[in-house]
């Protein structure tokens, strides 16, 4: 079963990364490049935010004209290739988690069942964190990185657990607890940075947020469908027996 899970996750992660990479190249990468022109202009004449939050300077050491030059992929094809590689690594990572949850929940793994869990993944890892921390272009001031990462992980985990309670455990207590878990991170509130006035046209940020979520949905839908398909495809001769054992 371990080999089957790993193999299905590799296939699903690869297919989802192919789709998500193509969508990124068409929809979000051009916006990031456009936003970086404004970011570079701000780096030359840094605002007080850049000094107030040392993480902004650290993370952008590659762009910082005064700092030690850090490695970054060359513009053009290498940058797109590294974007695709990062998408693949995340894709396999998410597919492994999706598979772990499917197997742990004791579900019969079919494309339609895996798609449902994939949509749950989209809700937990894309939509819920985006409610508090909308997808941002480079150059937009934000709160300290660690606090946002912590809130992101807590929100994704709480939403996933809440969805599990509401959609799978059911029962009045489970549904109540699940809804509390889903709402809690937003009641607590996401960390927010100073409200920055950027020279970047607002339409860039709006387009980026919408496109990022659309890519997230396509990514998770393909991930779920492909995992369900690959799970059946790599079953081998005794795959049916194993599946019935799991369902029994």
């Amino acid at each position: 079963m371990t080999k089957r899970l790993l193999a299905a996750a590799l296939v699903a992660g690869f297919l989802a990364a192919c789709v998500a990479s193509a969508l990124q190249f068409a929809l979000t990468s051009p916006l990031i490049l456009a936003a970086e022109k404004y970011e570079t202009a701000e780096a030359i004449a840094p605002t007080h935010h850049a000094f107030a939050n040392p993480l902004i300077v650290l993370a952008h050491a590659g762009h910082d004209p005064g700092g030690e030059p850090q490695w970054q992929p060359a513009p053009g094809l290498p940058r797109l290739a590294f974007t695709a590689l990062a998408t693949l690594v995340s894709g396999v990572g998410y597919a492994l988690l999706l598979g772990a949850v499917l197997v742990a929940a004791g579900r019969e793994v079919t494309p339609s069942e895996a798609l449902k869990f994939g949509i749950g993944g989209f809700l937990a890892a894309s939509l819920a964190p985006a409610v508090g921390l909308p997808p941002e272009l480079p150059g937009i001031a934000a709160a300290a990185l660690e606090s946002r990462q912590l809130w992101w992980v807590a929100t994704a985990t709480a939403t996933a657990a809440g969805l599990y309670l509401v959609a799978i455990r059911r029962g009045p207590v489970a549904i109540g607890l699940g809804l509390v878990l889903i709402a809690a991170p937003h009641v607590w509130g996401a960390p927010h940075g100073p409200e920055d006035i950027s020279a970047m046209p607002p339409v860039y940020a709006a387009q980026f947020a919408a496109r990022s979520l659309a890519i997230g949905f396509a990514f998770w839908a393909v991930l779920g469908l492909a995992f369900g398909w690959a799970w059946g495809a790599v079953a081998g001769p005794n795959g049916v027996t194993r599946r019935s054992e799991v369902a029994a």
Binding site: T2, L6, A59, R79, A86, A100, A105, A142
Partner: protein, 58 residues
């Protein structure tokens, strides 16, 4: 009856438990490397994906 079936069906023992733990650990590790690792080279390599996937990024 339903409760008994549910409690037996997802029982995590033996091969299933090890498969779930291995996949979950590997998955979290890969997500950390591609989405959260603070190493500047990793951040720069994964930069555009981190923004598109809405991982908090710089």
């Amino acid at each position: 009856m339903v409760a008994i079936t549910r409690s037996l069906s997802p029982a995590l023992v033996g091969e299933r438990l090890s498969a779930v733990l291995l996949a979950a650990t590997l998955g979290v590790g890969l997500l950390f490397v591609s989405g959260f690792a603070p190493v500047v080279a990793l951040h720069n390599a994964a930069h555009d994906w981190r923004h598109s996937a809405n991982f908090p990024c710089h």
